[in-house]
């Protein structure tokens, strides 16, 4: 039973999706922040290296380790931080296309870890999950499908037990994340009386719309809080049961989409949707592709073939 659960062979498509989506998101995030690197991570940034290096454990890689290199080369430390950021983006590019996948994942993981250790005071959920994801990209067989390294007309995706084991780890990790997050919320009274949603949406840092009307509908705020609690604490149950899984997956994607729209946490929402899709949602995404997109493409192909045939035979037959 253990062998069937953890080691039944399966394809590496969900893991390839995970690799590509994570790399893409990392590139978007890096591009978004590149103009603010000096402020957030620079030696004289908002939290200077002299402060961050005193707080972070000395065994953790951090950008202040660049100081001797800066002194040796005569380059400014800020320039080296930019160089490192460039290297990070290049490694993400390699991870995206699946070229030297494991090495690329390792470099991206090491650099991202160095950045978040230095800028730990400004890091939030998206950094946490990016760190988890990049570590998994080193360990898991994410470069077996849709990857440059495996690009050949003769190779076909092979089913492997390691794909299943990796997926199980991803799935169980997500279950722990949601149940812990739900349980922690459930310990606060604000998540039971609806104040949590109200207080959040009234903060300028999150509010994207004028939500003052919500005060007149406290039951609505309460329902939103309760449904969040239900979705998070109940996640391991509804996502494991095959029958409720598609509904659960859609519900959790909608939850994160709402967080992106109403709270402006686009990157965090995106990374959570990526984790959920790789762990549980890939078969539904694939099914949706084959039932919605594929017929459309085939219809277009047929239409084009029809036009070509009409042109080709128009001089031989009278239409």
């Amino acid at each position: 039973m253990i062998k069937r659960f953890f080691l039944a062979p399966s394809t590496g498509e969900p893991l390839a999706f995970f690799r590509i989506a994570i790399a893409l998101l990392g590139l978007v995030q890096g591009g978004w922040l590149i103009g603010s690197v000096a402020l957030l991570y620079g030696p004289d940034g908002l939290i200077p290296w002299s402060v961050s290096s005193g707080i972070v454990d000395p065994y953790m890689p951090q950008l202040s380790w660049l100081k001797p290199l800066a002194a040796f080369t005569g380059t400014s430390a800020t320039t080296l931080v930019y160089v490192l950021m460039g290297l990070y983006l290049c490694s993400l590019g390699a991870l995206l296309i699946g070229k030297f996948t494991r090495y690329a994942a390792f470099i991206a993981w090491a650099i991202q870890f160095t950045f978040i250790n230095t800028g730990f005071m400004g890091a939030y959920g998206v950094e946490t999950f990016m760190h988890i994801a990049l570590f998994y990209c080193i360990i898991m067989p994410v470069g077996e499908v849709f990857a440059w390294d495996k690009l050949s007309l003769n190779t076909k995706p092979v089913e492997s037990e390691w794909n299943t084991l990796s997926l199980r780890v991803l799935q169980i990790h997500l279950c722990v994340v949601y149940i812990a997050s739900g349980a922690e919320k459930a310990m606060g009274i604000q998540w039971w009386n609806g104040e949590a949603i109200w207080q959040t949406l009234m903060q300028g840092q999150f509010a994207r719309f004028d939500m003052r009307w919500m005060a007149n509908y406290p039951l609505f705020a309460k329902l939103l809080c309760w449904s969040t609690l239900l979705l998070e604490t109940g996640y391991p149950f509804f996502i494991w049961w095959r029958r409720s899984r598609p509904y659960g997956y859609v519900a959790i994607v909608l939850l994160h989409t709402s967080i992106a729209i109403f709270m402006g946490l686009q990157l965090f929402s995106a990374i959570m949707i990526i984790f959920n899709t790789a762990a549980f949602g890939w078969p539904y995404l694939k099914q949706a592709y084959y039932s919605l997109v594929q017929p459309l493409r085939e219809r277009k192909k047929l239409q084009r073939a029809g036009i070509l045939a009409t042109h080709a035979f128009s001089h031989e037959f009278e239409m």
């Binding site: 953890f6 103009g35 940034g45 200077p48 998994y136 990790h173 606060g188």
Partner: protein, 162 residues
Amino acid sequence: MLTTKQTFWLFAACFHLSVVALHAAHLEEWTSHKSWLLKKITAYGDFTGSGNIFSFFAPHIGNEIAVVYTLGDGSHQEVTRLEGPNTECNRRIQTIYNFFGIEEAQSLLAKSCAAYMLRQHPNSNLVRVTVIDKRVPAMAAFRAGSQPKWEPFLVKDFRVTR
């Protein structure tokens, strides 16, 4: 029957997930004494991403914190904020400012922020760091007419001494 390789990786996966679960359950807060084993597990968690807690917006929502800087050079004054058009950068600045909620961090953080602003504005020789938080009334109080308001809770002045 499992092969040696399968057994090894299965064991590794179980260990990793156990560390994830233990950290999610606030392992480090269980005891004040950090034993050798706990230190190793914490280090493993830090490096692999299995050492996180997931208390997003929990157990309650903290007040929004903002910082206003008043820069001066003896004859002119300028009131400014650090946030700009980059929303993702603003999110991180905001996350840093949230540490003002911890009393022990206030002094050091105010110094860091002041030093950064003075470096950005070399013509200024003094800066006032005003940390404010937004008090949002409960829904019932809001319906009764109470409004959200910003209140300062830390004001610190810094002067260039060079």
